[in-house]
Every structure is written in C-alpha cells, then in structure tokens.
Amino acid sequence: MSSATEGATEARRRTPAPARRSPNAPPASFLWTRRILLTFLAVFSAVPIYVMISSSLKPLQDVTGKFRWIPSGLTIRPYIDIWQTVPLAKYFMNSLIVSLAATACSVVVAVFAAYAVSRYRFRGKRLFTVTVLSTQMFPGILFLLPLFVLFVNIGNATGIALYGSRGGLILTYMTFTLPFSIWMLVGYLDSIPRDLDEAALVDGCGAVGALFRVVVPAAVPGIVAVAVYSFMTAWGEVLFASMMTNDVTRTLSIGLQGYATQTQVYWNQVMAASLVVSVPVVAGFLLLQRYLVAGLTAGAVK
C-alpha cells in the first residue's frame, strides 16, 4: 500500500465529526427522550436474543410447556445433541463454502464493474446501472422456476452440474448481491480522489494496475462493507436454497428445519442450533461494523 493512499484513507476516516459538540449540557427533555427510547429499543432488541440464549440452555420440558423466564435448570445437552439430531456440521460446511465463495466472487466482480462505472464514460452505462438496479424489484418467486430450468439445461448442454450443486448456489447468490454491491462500491469509488489513479497511470501502471495498486487499497472499507453484505445474504437465503440443494449440498437455512420432527419440535435444540449458526455472522458483523460504517459513510450514503 502506498503511503499516499494510506494517507487518504486515514484522512477520510478522521474528517467526519464523530460527535456533536455542544457547549451546554443537553436539556433534560433530550436526556429523558434518549433514556426512554433507547431503553425501549434495548429491551426490544434484547428480549428475543435472551429467549434464544436462555432456551438453548433449558431442558426439553422447559421449552415444551409454559414459557418461563428463568430456566428450571441449565444444561448444555442441547449443544451436544444438535450435532446428532441433524447433520449440522455438514450443513454448516456447505453454508460456509457457498457463502465464502459467493462473497469472494461477488466482491471481485463488483469491484471491476464499479471501477468501470465510476471511472469511465461509456455507451450503455446508464442502461447498465438502471437494469442492474431494477432487478432488485423482481420477486424471487418469478424467476425461481426459470432459473432452475436454466441450470438444468446448462447442465445437460455442457455437463456442468449447476442444479443441486454448490456451484449453482454460489452463482445464484453472487448475482443476487451484485446490484447492491456495485451500487455501493460506485459510491465509494467516486469518493476516492481521481488524482490517485491518475498519478498511478502516469507512473506507468495500466488501468488495471492502477485499480489494484491504488484504488483497491484505498477502497478497503467499501469492499469490506460489500463483503459483509454479500456474506450475510448468502448465509441467510431460504427460498432458492430449498429448491436447489439436495441431501449432500443442503445449507443451514434448510437444514435447521430438521429439528422439528413428526413427534415434536426440539425448541431447545432449535435455539442452540440457531445460536451456533448465528455466531459467525453476528461476530463478523459486529467486528467489521466500524468498516461498514466507514464504507457506507464515504460511499452509498453520500
């Protein structure tokens, strides 16, 4: 990373005022509004999370009968059982592979596209952006079946199995996240001074060289933001996963339904499994939150 870009990133991070500075202490009305609203929101956010955590540590009779705030006893049994009740580890790996691959590919493709849109004028640019963004309006249900049939036909014509494979799901998810990713990255790239890549061009880098040596390093927060968004989308998708996976490639979103059996729903295991599958995304999201804010600040939100 050149020192110039580092400086630019740093500068951008520092300029926004992190807090309002007001010479007088805020009035009581403000403080009370704040206390009340934030308390309400904290309870609203926390209760389901508390239910998830506490129920995952309850014995089965606690979650099949009347709800109770305080567990009658704590047990980690659900956390052991979840791996046997359904092949959670397999689903977990599938989700991980699919989400990581979709994220990586989506980010690369989005960076290329966003660079083109941000830095060049070319014919069809408007058409491209408008078309890509308007795909966001189509309900998935409209093209679920056509996409399925298309995958099968591609498979029959080329021998590349897309239906039922992780590859098909990866392709689907990366495409789903592309429009928003491109749009967000264009905003971010627009905020990076053009002098930077022009300087690199003068230094003898090609346009692609300038992209990789100068623009990408300067755009890290934006790229991370896009990656987080892509990963979350892929990790949580339900509809297409239900149709396009099979026993071998099933992902978590579908696999989790396995805790509801003919006899009963193992709610404590459902909650334990939900927590286990949530931890990677939530942890990643909260850790990268700073980047996300930075990425959004400079990019999409301008």
Partner: protein
C-alpha cells in the same frame, strides 16, 4: 461527472468497444483502430463478468418468467413449456378482475402488503433515525448499545424468525406469558400466528429485523455532517432540539431518499419472514403479495397466472420507484442549486 478518458471519446461517437454497434463512420477508421480501442473496450471488459452473471442468473430467467405470464402453464404443460398454449393477456385479466375471486384475493393481498410496507418501513425509519440521532453524542455504554441494536440485523433471517415464532405461540409463548399471565392485559391468551393479530406480528418481526439497518445507515450519514455547522449553531444560541431540526434532519435528506427506497423495495418483496413465520398457508391478514404469488404458482400449479401477478407487481414497483425518484430528486436538485 468527470472521467479519466480523453475529451474526444465523450463525443457522440464514443468508441464502440464490446457492443455490436460497429465503428462509427464519421471518424476515420485509422483513428478508431488506435490504442484507444483498448481503452474504449476496457470498461466493457471490466463489466463483462457482472454483465454475464446478471444476464444469466437475473435477466434471462426474469425474461422467461415474463414469457410465462402469457402462457397457460398449468400442470399439464409443466414438462414441455414450449407446448403451453399462449393465453395473450388472459392471465393478467384473471389477476386484475377484482370481481373474480383470484383478483379480489390479489387486491386484498396487495392492500395488506401496502399497509404492512408503510407501517414497517415507517417504523423502521423512525426508530433508526431516532436512535442514531440520540446516540450521536458519546455516552457511557454507547458501543455496547450499538452492538446490541445491530445484532438483530446480523442474525440470519431463519434463526431470527424461528425465535419469534417460538415467542409468538399462543399456549407456550413469551408474548402471551407477558401480556396475559404477567401483566393481565388480556382476558384470554391471544393468537399471534393466526387470525387478525398475525398482521401485527409480521410488522413487529419485520421492524425488529430492519430498523437496525436504518440505524446503521443513518449513523454513518451523521458522521458526514461537518462539526462546524453545529458549532456555529450553538454559538447562535440554538438548543439541541433546534440543532436537530435545523441541521441534522435536513442533512439526512439525501440519505433518506435512498434508504427509504431500499427499505421499501425489500419490505414489499419480503418473502422469507412471512414464509418462515406462518408457513405456506399464511393467515389472510398477513398474506403478503409475495406469499400469495408463491401460493398461486406452486400450490395451485398455475405458473402462468403467478408470473402475471409478478409482472404486475414489478410494474407497480417500477412506477412507484420512478415517481418517487422523480419527485425527490427534483426537490433535491432544486435545493442544491
């Protein structure tokens, strides 16, 4: 908008690059074949992967879906779509015949969806904007609170919705435990997953999941407001409420324009939350249009009518979006100048 290219290429005869238009006749072929061809082609080359993917996974299937909407695609023709008879606009007619049962149900579902979207987006925005503005100043515990607020958004949708459906059960759920047993607000335990209340449940779950997104975006936007604006206002004697009204809210306008649109589109088309909350047979009060289309397509095996409904839905969304953008950006442009 500026570009790193030479002025000549900005003329009407921009280099053709990857498109089929062919070389422009007015300029000399020699000049056209110069090194610039590579530069002219470069943006297309960069776009190519995105373009191919969008075409393959989004646009072509969507186009097939649109073609489906003109055909009678019932179970008899499922195996051979090509043989499905054309129905012209019949599928659309069925969908918008509001005297007929299908059309009436569609209209009702559309109304439910509109009400749901307005409520859910409105609440998500109010909560997000409120919380982010109130948390603009640093205070003890702000970091923890922010992490807590963002967690619902980060949770995978199925994990979140399963938890809510657990809480919303009538007999053993938390909600009735609190409202009925602990607070005694209701004489009888209420139903939250069937009947009229299911609409409320849907709104609450949706807001719970989406308001953190509004919170995140607005928090980010607030950091872009220059500090000197506040300082100047404070010197002028403006109190904190006035600062919020005069500086913060107007500065958020461009963000809100995009944020509200994105929230609107996502919420209107939401399938995952109602599907996971209510299953295939959603109660009428919470029968969102995406679910209704799913039902029309997959449960009554009429993919043609289902597709026609999707197309109508998209037309509506396009219209709203275009109108919204036109209205809001005109205002913005006026304000900018």
């Amino acid at each position: 908008m500026t570009a790193t290219e030479t002025p000549s290429s900005a003329a009407p005869s921009a280099p053709g690059g990857g498109e089929r238009g062919g070389p422009p006749a007015r300029r000399g072929l020699r000049r056209f074949l110069s090194a610039r061809i590579r530069r002219g082609g470069l943006p297309y080359l960069l776009l190519l992967p995105a373009l191919v993917l969008e075409l393959l996974i989004h646009l072509v299937p969507i186009a097939v879906g649109v073609v489906m909407s003109f055909r009678e695609l019932t179970n008899e023709y499922l195996r051979h779509w090509g043989d499905a008879p054309w129905r012209g606009l019949d599928n659309f007619r069925v969908a918008v015949d509001f005297d007929g049962s299908v059309g009436a149900a569609l209209l009702k579902s559309f109304g439910v969806t509109c009400a749901f979207t307005i409520l859910a987006v409105g609440l998500a925005w109010v909560l997000g904007a409120g919380a982010s503005i109130l948390m603009q100043d640093a205070f003890r515990g702000r970091g923890v609170l922010r992490a807590l607020f963002l967690t619902p958004y980060a949770l995978p949708v199925y994990a979140a919705v399963i938890t809510w459906s657990f809480m919303l059960q009538r007999d053993n759920g938390l909600v009735n435990h609190v409202f009925h047993e602990q607070l005694g607000l209701t004489d009888e335990p209420s139903f939250w997953l069937i009947g009229g209340n299911s609409f409320l449940s849907l709104v609450v779950v949706s807001v719970w999941r989406t308001w953190p997104f509004a919170f995140l975006i607005i928090t980010a936007a607030l950091q872009n407001i220059p500090r000197d604006l506040y300082e100047a206002a404070a010197i002028d004697g403006a109190g904190i409420w006035q600062q919020i009204r005069k500086i913060t809210l107007p500065s958020l306008r461009p963000v809100n324009q995009v944020l509200l649109l994105v929230l609107f589109l996502w919420t209107f088309n939401d399938f995952n939350v109602p599907f996971m909350l209510f299953g295939k047979a959603a109660p009428e009060a919470a029968n969102l249009i995406s679910l209704y289309i799913y039902k029309s397509s997959f449960l009554t095996w009429d993919f043609g009518t289902g597709a026609a409904m999707s197309v109508l839905l998209v037309l509506f969304l396009l219209l709203v979006t275009a109108g919204y953008l036109l209205a809001t950006s005109r205002k913005k442009r006026g304000a900018d100048v």
